[in-house]
């Protein structure tokens, strides 16, 4: 029964995609109804599976799942199938909730129920409709023209994520991965009328594609080494042993190379340095898309994949050993990205950009955690981050919506996304404020009450306890900056006085947008409590560390819970509370960018990485395409060959016509035959003299001749 449900989990969103595209594109309420229904069905299935999974003792040993023979390969089959083990059960839990929340939120975000806009065209964000009320005109938000298409695309996105999470093999995981890549392209470029959106979509796709190529190489390597792509096959102890001990390239073992290649896929998909450049630009898409991509699904998929492949990455390593090559690389990149992105976030003014860089930074945390071998901590932070980041993005969308309402109401056309135009919104949008605050505190790691604290604390504990001090200090600094810029964001947006007319007239958003915020806020607070370490002072031991037991059971051996030490706890309290306090302190009186001391050009311009990549990669590629391939190879060489062939054929044809066709065939054969016939005819016609005696003489002559001949031949 469970296996059937698991197979069916990705199906409703896929069907929803097709139905909306093919049939209900014009009917908005039916489209969102189908999409919500599909998300709801998958959510229901996920909850059933999750609850069943909770009921199984030692679930890690008795996972759900089934597989089928799919591709015949010589004497064996390549199998594909589904599986739910503790890791994917935890992941499917948050995927189901966040997807459903985002779907519901999208209804309100795209202004369902509002009138059609005055000048709205498909492909550009809606600009508002003028309505006349009591003889007095004002602009109200208008419904998104491509409303149904949006729901179709996010349904496809949900399908990709569900497929990825339930698969038991690298192949269908990769399929889901790529589908999400496609959907990210479609959705980031949703408002295709904007050139910036189009460019951002291409950039996202290209950058993640680079990662995907290496990931595909890794998958190919896995297959050629082990002959299978199923996790159960690859993670068999003897297989892992073989992988770890077989040297491959550059002196690194096969497992190491595979791990590195697969990790590069994650670097692309989860926007780690150096492939992080697409994620901030991806803010061009509508906010539910940002929430989906950057919190709930896509970037989480990258981290999920690398957590899933942890046995392979850590093949040959056990706790206490120094990290092997792959894990060192992973830890380095994760930690570096965490601090790198945090520094950039300090200088961003767009409310969504701050959250984008914070996502990159938090993903760095997870990856660094995995790199140092903290399997459960990484998974824990993945889950909690999904909830509070989705909450923050949706909250920011709510803020932007409120600002837009103010813009339309007052006609004061300011950028509704610029935090320096906001201020004092806590009075205008209370529910948004409280939920956003909860999310922000979770992100910062506010102690005890928020989930983010528990997961981040566990990462610090693992880093410190296993002696990875560089990683520990780097992550701690990043956490401080995280708290700082989060509070900066909250202060600028919600506290103080409104800094523009639009902010003064902002209003709360409809229930379809508020309800998901509340639900996600609940999880952001409570989910942390399932992972309280046993040895925590005071609270530890009251509730068993369910998460550690549950998710840790995925591995062959349950990882040891790290021993408690005060240093990481105090550090995390210090950085969290200190960062929050400093943020509030510095920014409560800042009213304009000029007063913001963190508007450093290097940080604002993202350490100039976009410019570096443009110079190093984009310009040469463009040159090759335009000058070399198009102009030289295509037009000059290939077209030149074609033209000369054509000229030659023309010459040949002409020669044939002049020297062979006309004289020989026309004159000699054609006319010649005619003339010959004419001549012989006019010669032979004289036989028909019309004179009888002539005929008779002729016939008797012949008769005599024949008679003589016959006589001498036959007699």
């Amino acid at each position: 029964m469970e296996n059937f449900i698991i197979w069916m989990l990705p199906l409703p969103p896929l069907l929803s995609f097709f139905v909306i595209i093919l049939f209900t594109n014009k009917r908005k309420s039916m489209s969102h109804g189908i999409a919500i229904g599909a998300a709801g069905l998958s959510w229901l299935g996920s909850m059933i599976i999750y609850i069943r999974a909770l009921g199984v003792k030692e679930f890690g040993r008795h996972i759900f799942g089934s597989s089928i023979n799919w591709l015949p390969t010589g004497s064996t089959w390549l199998k594909i199938g589904v599986q739910i083990d503790p890791l994917s059960a935890a992941v499917i839990f948050f995927v189901a909730w966040t997807v459903l929340a985002i779907f519901l939120y999208s209804i309100g975000y795209h202004n369902f129920g509002q009138p059609k806009g005055d000048n709205d065209v498909a492909g550009l964000p809606p600009h508002g409709a003028t309505v006349t009320e009591n003889g007095h005109k004002h602009t109200v938000p208008s419904i998104e023209p491509m409303y149904s298409r949006f729901f179709a695309f996010i349904s496809l996105f949900a399908f990709g994520m569900y497929t990825l999470v339930v698969s038991d093999n690298l192949l269908t995981l990769f399929v889901g991965w790529e589908i999400m890549g496609l959907c990210s392209y479609l959705l980031i470029g949703f408002w295709f009328g904007k050139p910036s959106a189009r460019n951002a979509a291409v950039k996202a796709f290209m950058t993640t594609r680079i990662g995907d190529v290496f990931m595909l190489l890794g998958i190919a390597f896995v297959y050629s080494f082990t002959g299978s792509l199923s996790f159960s096959e690859i993670f068999k102890p003897e297989m892992l042993g073989a992988l770890a001990s077989t040297p491959a390239f550059f002196g690194i073992s096969a497992a190491g190379i595979i791990g590195l290649l697969l990790f590069i896929g994650t670097v692309g998909k989860s926007a780690q340095w150096p492939l992080h450049v697409w994620l901030p630009d991806a803010m061009e898409g509508p906010t539910p898309v940002s929430a989906m991509i950057h919190a709930a699904t896509m970037v989480s998929a990258g981290v999920y994949m690398v957590i899933r492949m942890f046995p392979l990455i850590s093949a040959g390593w056990t706790e206490g050993m120094p990290l092997n090559m792959t894990m060192s690389v992973i830890a380095f990149i994760g930690a570096f990205t965490a601090i790198f992105a945090a520094t950039i976030a300090l200088a961003q003014n767009d409310i969504k950009r701050v959250l984008a860089y914070s996502t990159i930074s938090q993903l760095g945390f997870m990856i660094a955690a995995l790199g140092i071998g903290a399997y459960v901590a990484a998974a824990f932070h993945l889950v909690t981050h999904a909830f509070f980041k989705a909450l923050l993005f949706l909250g920011s969308g709510s803020v932007i919506h409120g600002m837009e309402h103010g813009v339309m109401h007052t006609g004061n056309h300011v950028d509704p996304q610029d935090m320096f135009n906001m201020g004092g919104l806590r009075k205008k949008m209370p529910i948004t404020f409280w939920t956003f605050l909860i999310g922000g505190l979770a992100l910062s790691g506010f102690p005890i009450l928020t989930a983010g604290f528990w997961s981040k604390d566990e990462i610090f504990a693992e880093a410190f306890g296993n002696g990875h001090f560089v990683v520990f200090i780097t992550l701690a600094s990043a956490a401080f900056l995280t708290a700082f810029y989060t509070m900066r964001q909250i202060t600028l947006t919600f506290f103080g006085e409104p800094r523009s007319k639009a902010a003064e007239h902002a209003s709360e958003t409809p229930w379809t947008m508020i309800l998901p915020l509340i639900v996600l806020a609940v999880f952001s607070v409570s989910y942390g409590w399932v992972g309280i370490p046993e040895q925590f002072p005071g609270l530890g031991g009251l509730i068993p560390n369910w998460f550690h037991e549950f998710v840790g059971g995925t591995l062959a051996e349950l990882p040891k819970a790290i021993e408690f030490s005060w240093v990481p706890l105090v550090t995390s309290l210090f950085v969290a509370l200190g960062g929050l306090f400093c943020g509030w302190l510095f920014y409560r009186n800042v009213k304009s960018p000029q007063q913001d001391f963190l508007q450093i050009p290097v940080l604002k311009n993202k350490w100039y990485f976009d410019e570096i990549y443009d110079y190093l990669f984009v310009k040469p590629a463009t040159w090759i395409a335009e000058k070399f391939t198009s102009l030289f190879m295509d037009q000059i060489v290939i077209d030149g060959i074609l033209h000369s062939v054509a000229q030659f054929s023309l010459f040949l044809g002409h020669a044939f016509r002049t020297y062979f066709d006309k004289p020989v065939i026309n004159e000699f054969i054609g006319d010649g035959t005619g003339n010959a016939v004419k001549a012989s005819g006019s010669g032979l016609r004289k036989i028909q003299a019309g004179r009888i005696q002539y005929y008779m003489v002729a016939s008797i002559t012949v008769l005599v001749i024949f008679a003589v001949l016959f006589y001498f031949l036959l007699v």
Partner: protein, 103 residues
């Protein structure tokens, strides 16, 4: 009688050749028909000679000769009628000048 059959046959052959010569070489159409008559008579001589020398009891030879008479008569009648008709329209009986069926 003591005349060998071959004498009659040689006579008939000679008569036939003379008639053939006349047919092929005379200009006048009526002269051509005269040659034809000679040839028919040669045939008749042959027939009757064979009748007498092979089996005089059976009458086939004579009957055939009588049929030849009838046919010759018919042919002369029609031929001369044609020549007269042609003479009326073309004013000539020279065979070589009656050549409308030429190319």
């Amino acid at each position: 009688m003591s005349i060998p059959l071959s004498w009659f046959l040689i006579l008939a052959a000679a008569l036939f050749s003379i008639g053939l010569f006349g047919v092929l070489s005379r200009k006048n159409a009526i002269a051509i028909l005269l040659g034809v008559e000679l040839m028919l008579n040669a045939v008749n001589i042959n027939l009757v000679a064979f009748w007498r020398y092979q089996d005089p009891a059976k009458m086939a030879g004579q009957v055939f000769a009588i049929i030849v008479f009838a046919v010759a008569a018919a042919e002369v009648a029609v031929g001369l009628a044609l020549i007269i008709s042609v003479y009326r329209s073309r004013k000539t009986v020279v065979a070589d000048e009656i050549d409308l069926m030429k190319w």
